[in-house]
Symmetry: C2
Subunit: 593 residues, 2 copies
C-alpha cells in the first residue's frame, strides 16, 4: 500500500517536472468551472474554492507568444467570481485582467466569461481570485510560461518543480470579511497553516522528532504524521537525482504571511523574480512576499543517501504558524524516509535588516531587461496609514481608503459615466509635517473611489511611504502589486522619502523589473514604470485583509484608446443601465410607466 | 439590573402590540442594507444575514392599499441578494416579487434595487431572501398589513403579537449548499435550534426543571438558562393582562421544520391563514408548515398568578431539535417567573392523521373570500420524486429537476430570448403505471429550466402528487408555495390522484384561500387558481434544501402584457447582453475588434 502511494506520488511529480511537448497550436483552450468543495488542505476539513474540482486550480503551462482562452463558468451558488492572471500585463486586453470593479463585472453564478489573452514573455506566474477575499478561500493556481520555441533561458537545468505557497485559515472567508468590517473590529489572526501546492499539516508534523520546546521552526501539535502519500494533506515530495540542477519555481499566493523559503544543506541561486531574469546570486534562503514569484536553481550536491527538508516559515510578523514542510527526495531513497537533519530554521521574524539585504541583492540581468527611462514625468507619493472611518478600522492612502465601486472603472471611464465613481483627482502626496513615527493624532479618514489618471506613455515614479500604524511602535510590511505593468525598483530607504536626497541614490543602472515590491516598516520604496498599457489598473497591498480594508489605489491611462471591450465585462451597474436604456421601442417600454 | 431588563422587555413588547397610528401618506419609504453580522441567535455565535444590523429584519407594518417603497442596498461582499415578499401578489409589479432567476437579477454587492409595490389586502405576511439558501442564513422579517382605515376585521381583540418562527443551523449556509450539491451527498441534518423572533436557546433551557429523560418536549443541554432579558438569545416574553383577547400572528420561515405551536392551558381560535380569513375554530395546538402564516386568538382566561409556556416543536420529521420556548406573562408577574406547568408536549411527529384533521378544519370565512370557479380549464399533475442526476441527489417534478437559469424568466420571456432557458413545455403529468409506493426503479432524471405557460385568466388546477423517496418506506412532507397568487385548497387524498374519483369530493363550497399548502406522505393535494397576474412565478417546495435540490416549477402568464420592467431587474445575463448590443456607435465599439 505504501509502495503504491509512493509510485503514484513519484509519477505525479514526474508529470510536474516534464513540461508538455511544444504545442502545434498557439492558442490553448480551457474550460473551467469554479466551485466550492469539501477538502482537507491541512488535514482539517473545510470548504475550499477550486476549479474543476481541483485545489489548487489546474496548472497552466504555456509558451511565450501563446494565446490562452479560458472559458470560466461560475458554479458558486450566490457569489460572483473573477480570476486575475497575476504577472500577465494584458496588453490590448485590459478587460481580461480579472479584477472585479476595475477591469470587469464579477461573473454571476451560472454565467460564463471568456478570458482570452496573450502571454507575451516567459516567466513564473500564478492566477487567483480577485473579488472580496476569494483568494483566501483557495482560488489560485500556477501559470508557467516557457520561452518560445527556439529561444533559450539564460541558465541551464535538468528538471523543475513549481511550488505555490499559501496560508490557510479554518475560519471561513465570509467570517473573515465580516470580522474585518465589524465594529468592534475582528482581526483574522495568524493563519492556522502554511501550504505548499495546497498541502499542509495542522494536526501533525512529519518532523516531530525535531520539535524543540518553545520553537516554532518545526511543525506542531507534537504528533508524527503517518502518510501513505495519497492523502489530501500529504506533502508533495520533490524527487531528484544526485548531481543535477533543478529549477524551483516559487510563487506566493499568501493572504497575509511573508515567507522565508529554504532547503536544508542546499544553496539556492536566484535567477528570476516576478517573471524577469535577474543577475544570479546564491543564498541559503530567500524571503518571498505575497504576490512575488522567484526561480531558484538548486544543485543536488549533498549526501545522496539522505533526504532533506524543504521549509517555508513566517517572517515579518510575529509568527504563530508552524513551518510548511516537504522533502527533497534523493532517489532511490523512499520519499518519506526521514531526513536526518532538522528543517531549516526560519530567520528571526523582525530581523528586517536581513530582509533588506536580500532585497538589495536583486539586480536585472544585463542584456535581458529593458533599462528604465532616466527621468520620470510625474512623482506620486503614497503614504499608507491605519485609520478609523465611521468607527471602522481601515487602511488609507494619502487619507483615502479605497472602496471599489459597483461599476468597473474600465467601462465607466471609457463611457465617461459621471456618477460611477468619485471623479476628483486623489492627492499626489501627503502633508509635509506628517509624523511618520507615531500613530495618527487624528485618524479620521474618508472612504473613496478616486483614480490616478496617467498620461499614456508617460513615465511615472511612485514612492510607497510607510508609517506608524494605529498602535505605538508598530509599522507593518506591505507588498504592493501593480496590475498591467512591470516596474523598476529604484530604491529602498528608511524614514521619510526626501526626493532630492533619495533620487541621488536611485539605481538606474540595473534595477530589477518586478510587479510586486515590498515597503519595509517606517521606510519607503521607490518604483518607476511607463504608463504604456491603455486600461484601468489596480495597485494595492497584496495582503488580502489590507486590500479589503482599503489599501489600494487605481491607475488609468489611455482608456479612450481601448477598443473591443466584451459586453459581458461591463454588463452590470451603471454601464449596463446606460447601455440598456437606449431609445428604441423596447427601451421606451422599459422605463417605468 | 433584572428590573431594568424586564422594563425594557415590556416596553419593547408594548411597541409590538400597538400598531402605529395610521399614516397620512399612502406610501411608506424604507432604506435597507443587507449585510452579515456576528450574532448569537441561539446563544451560540455565528454569522447571520440581517437588515440594517437587525436580525430578524425590521417589521413592516402597513395598511391595505399602501404602497411600500423599499430601497434595498446589498452590503454583502461577494454575494448577490433579493427579497421576496411572501404572500404579496404583486399585481402589476411582477418584477418586485424578489425571486432571483424568476422575477429579477440578483442585486450585486454595492448596488441598490427599489422594491415598490402595493399591499392590496390585510393579512399576516413575512419577507425573506430568495437566492441560494439565504433565507436559511437569517434573511427574513415580518410584514403585517392592517385593514384600511374605516374597514373592520371580522373578529375583535385587545392586543397582538407577531411570532416569526424559524429553524437555525450552526453550519454555514455555504457549507449546507455545497454539501447538498456534493458527491457523496451531505444532508444538512436537523436544525440545532428553533427560533421565535430570532431567539432560541441551544446551550441551556429555561424549562430545565421539566426535562423528562428520553423526551424531546423540553429544551436540552440540561443547564437552566439565566436570562436578564437583554441577551440576544433571551426569549421575547409576551406580556398580557388577564381576561383579554390577544391576536397571535404566526409565520413560519423555517428552512426545514414543520412545527406544532401551542400555549400551555390555553385554547387557540384560528381566524386567518396565509392572509385570508377562515371560519373560526378552536384548537389546543396547530401545525404550521414552512411558508404558512396564521392568526390565532387567545383569551387570557387562566389563573393569572401564573405564567405559561408557549412552545413550537418539530413535527413531520423525526425530531432532533428541542422545542422553541417563550412565556405568556400574565402581568404583574415578573416576565421570567417560572411557569408551574411544563411546556406543551409536541404531538408525535409521525401522527399524520392528526395533521390532516387539522388541515381539513380550515374553511374560508363566508362572505369574506371569493369562491373558486366551478370548473378549471387545465389540470397539471406534479409528481415529486427523489432522483439522482449525474450522480447528484435531486428532487424532480415529473422527472425534471429545476435548475434556475442565470437570466430571469420575466425578462427572457418578455423579450423572447431563445436560449435563456429550455423552451419546451414541461410534462402535464406522469406515467400512469408509476408505482408511488416504492423507490424509483430507475432514478435517473434530468436537470431542466422549462416553464408552464398558462393562458391569462384561465383557471388552473394543480395536483401535487407525493410518492416514495429514494429510501424504502419513506415519503416526506412538502409545503408548496405559489408566488403571485392565492389558491383554493380543494382537497387532500391518499395514494394516487384519480381525477374522476377525487374531483367528486373537491370542496368547491368554502375551500380556504392560501398561498402555501402541504402535500402529505404518499398523498395528494389539489389546488385551483386563476392565472390572472401577468408575470413569471415560482411554485415550489418551501423547504430550502428541497428547492435547492430542484423541487420547484415555474408558471408564466400574460408576460407580453407586462409593462415597465425597471432596467435594474433585468440588467444581467442574456437580457443585459441583448439590450446592450444595440446598433448605435458605442455598440459597434463594444463588439470585439
Amino acid at each position: 500500500m505504501e509502495t503504491l502511494g509512493m509510485i503514484i506520488n513519484f509519477i505525479a511529480v514526474l508529470l510536474l517536472i516534464r513540461p508538455p511537448l511544444p504545442l502545434g497550436s498557439k492558442t490553448q483552450h480551457f474550460k473551467w468551472e469554479v466551485g466550492y468543495a469539501f477538502r482537507s488542505p491541512d488535514c482539517v476539513e473545510g470548504l475550499v474554492m477550486g476549479i474543476n474540482g481541483q485545489f489548487p486550480g489546474p496548472t497552466i503551462r504555456a509558451e511565450a507568444g501563446d494565446t490562452l482562452h479560458v472559458e470560466l463558468t461560475n458554479r458558486l451558488h450566490t457569489e460572483g467570481v473573477v480570476i486575475h492572471w497575476h504577472g500577465i500585463r494584458q496588453f490590448g486586453t485590459p478587460w481580461a485582467d480579472g479584477t472585479a470593479s476595475v477591469s470587469q463585472c464579477a461573473i454571476n453564478p451560472g454565467e460564463t466569461f471568456v478570458y482570452r489573452f496573450k502571454v507575451d514573455k516567459a516567466g513564473t506566474h500564478f492566477y487567483h481570485g480577485h473579488y472580496g477575499m476569494q483568494r483566501s478561500a483557495g482560488l489560485y493556481g500556477s501559470l508557467i510560461v516557457d520561452v518560445a520555441e527556439g529561444e533559450k533561458e539564460p541558465f541551464d537545468y535538468d528538471g523543475e518543480f513549481s511550488l505555490l505557497l499559501s496560508d490557510w485559515w479554518h475560519q471561513s472567508v465570509h467570517e473573515q470579511e465580516v470580522g474585518l468590517s465589524s465594529m468592534p473590529f475582528r482581526w483574522i489572526g495568524e493563519p492556522q497553516s502554511l501550504l505548499i501546492n495546497g498541502r499542509g499539516q495542522y494536526t501533525c508534523s512529519f518532523a516531530s522528532s525535531f520539535i524543540v520546546a518553545g520553537s516554532n521552526t518545526t511543525a506542531g501539535r507534537g504528533r508524527q504524521c503517518q502518510f501513505l502519500g495519497h492523502e489530501e494533506c500529504a506533502p508533495q515530495i520533490l524527487p531528484v537525482l544526485p548531481n543535477r540542477t533543478y529549477r524551483l519555481r516559487l510563487a506566493s499566493a499568501t493572504s497575509l504571511a511573508s515567507l522565508n523559503f529554504a532547503v536544508a544543506s542546499h544553496k539556492l541561486v536566484v535567477v528570476e523574480a516576478d517573471g524577469n531574469y535577474v543577475q544570479p546570486f546564491a543564498v541559503d534562503d530567500l524571503d518571498i512576499y505575497s504576490g512575488e514569484t522567484y526561480s531558484v536553481l538548486l544543485t543536488t550536491d549533498q549526501n545522496p543517501a539522505a533526504n532533506y527538508f524543504i521549509s517555508a516559515g513566517v517572517r515579518g510578523r510575529q509568527p504563530n504558524t508552524t513551518q510548511a514542510l516537504t522533502i527533497l527526495n534523493y532517489k532511490p531513497n523512499p520519499p518519506f524516509k526521514p531526513p536526518p537533519l532538522p528543517p531549516p530554521v526560519t530567520p528571526r521574524w523582525d530581523d528586517f535588516d536581513r530582509s533588506k539585504r536580500f532585497s538589495l541583492k536583486i539586480h536585472a540581468l544585463a542584456g535581458r531587461s529593458p533599462k528604465p527611462p532616466m527621468k520620470s514625468n510625474r512623482q506620486i507619493v503614497l503614504l499608507n496609514t491605519q485609520n478609523t472611518v465611521n468607527g471602522l478600522l481601515r487602511w488609507s492612502i494619502n487619507n483615502i481608503s479605497l472602496a471599489l465601486p459597483a461599476t468597473p472603472y474600465l467601462g465607466s471611464i471609457k463611457f465617461r459615466l459621471k456618477h460611477a465613481f468619485d471623479g476628483a483627482p486623489p492627492p499626489e502626496t501627503f502633508l509635509a509635517n506628517y509624523d511618520l513615527m507615531r500613530p495618527l493624532a487624528n485618524p479620521n479618514s474618508t472612504i473613496g473611489s478616486r483614480v490616478y489618471r496617467l498620461r499614456l506613455n508617460s513615465t511615472v515614479d511612485v514612492v510607497l511611504q510607510n508609517a506608524n500604524a494605529m498602535k505605538e511602535n508598530v509599522s507593518e510590511i506591505h507588498p504592493w502589486h501593480l496590475h498591467g505593468h512591470d516596474f523598476w525598483v529604484l530604491g529602498y530607504g528608511e524614514g521619510r522619502f526626501v526626493a532630492a536626497e533619495a533620487e541621488r541614490h536611485f539605481n538606474l543602472e540595473d534595477p530589477p523589473l518586478k510587479n510586486t515590491a515590498v515597503v519595509y516598516p517606517y521606510g519607503w520604496t521607490a518604483i518607476r514604470f511607463v504608463a504604456d498599457n491603455p486600461g484601468a489598473w489596480a495597485f494595492h497591498c497584496h495582503v488580502e485583509a489590507h486590500l479589503h480594508m482599503g489599501m489600494g489605489v487605481v491607475f488609468a491611462e489611455g482608456v479612450d484608446r481601448v477598443r473591443g471591450i466584451p459586453v459581458e465585462a461591463i454588463a452590470c451597474g451603471s454601464t449596463a443601465k446606460m447601455r440598456m436604456a437606449s431609445n428604441d421601442e423596447r427601451g421606451q417600454e422599459l422605463t417605468r410607466d
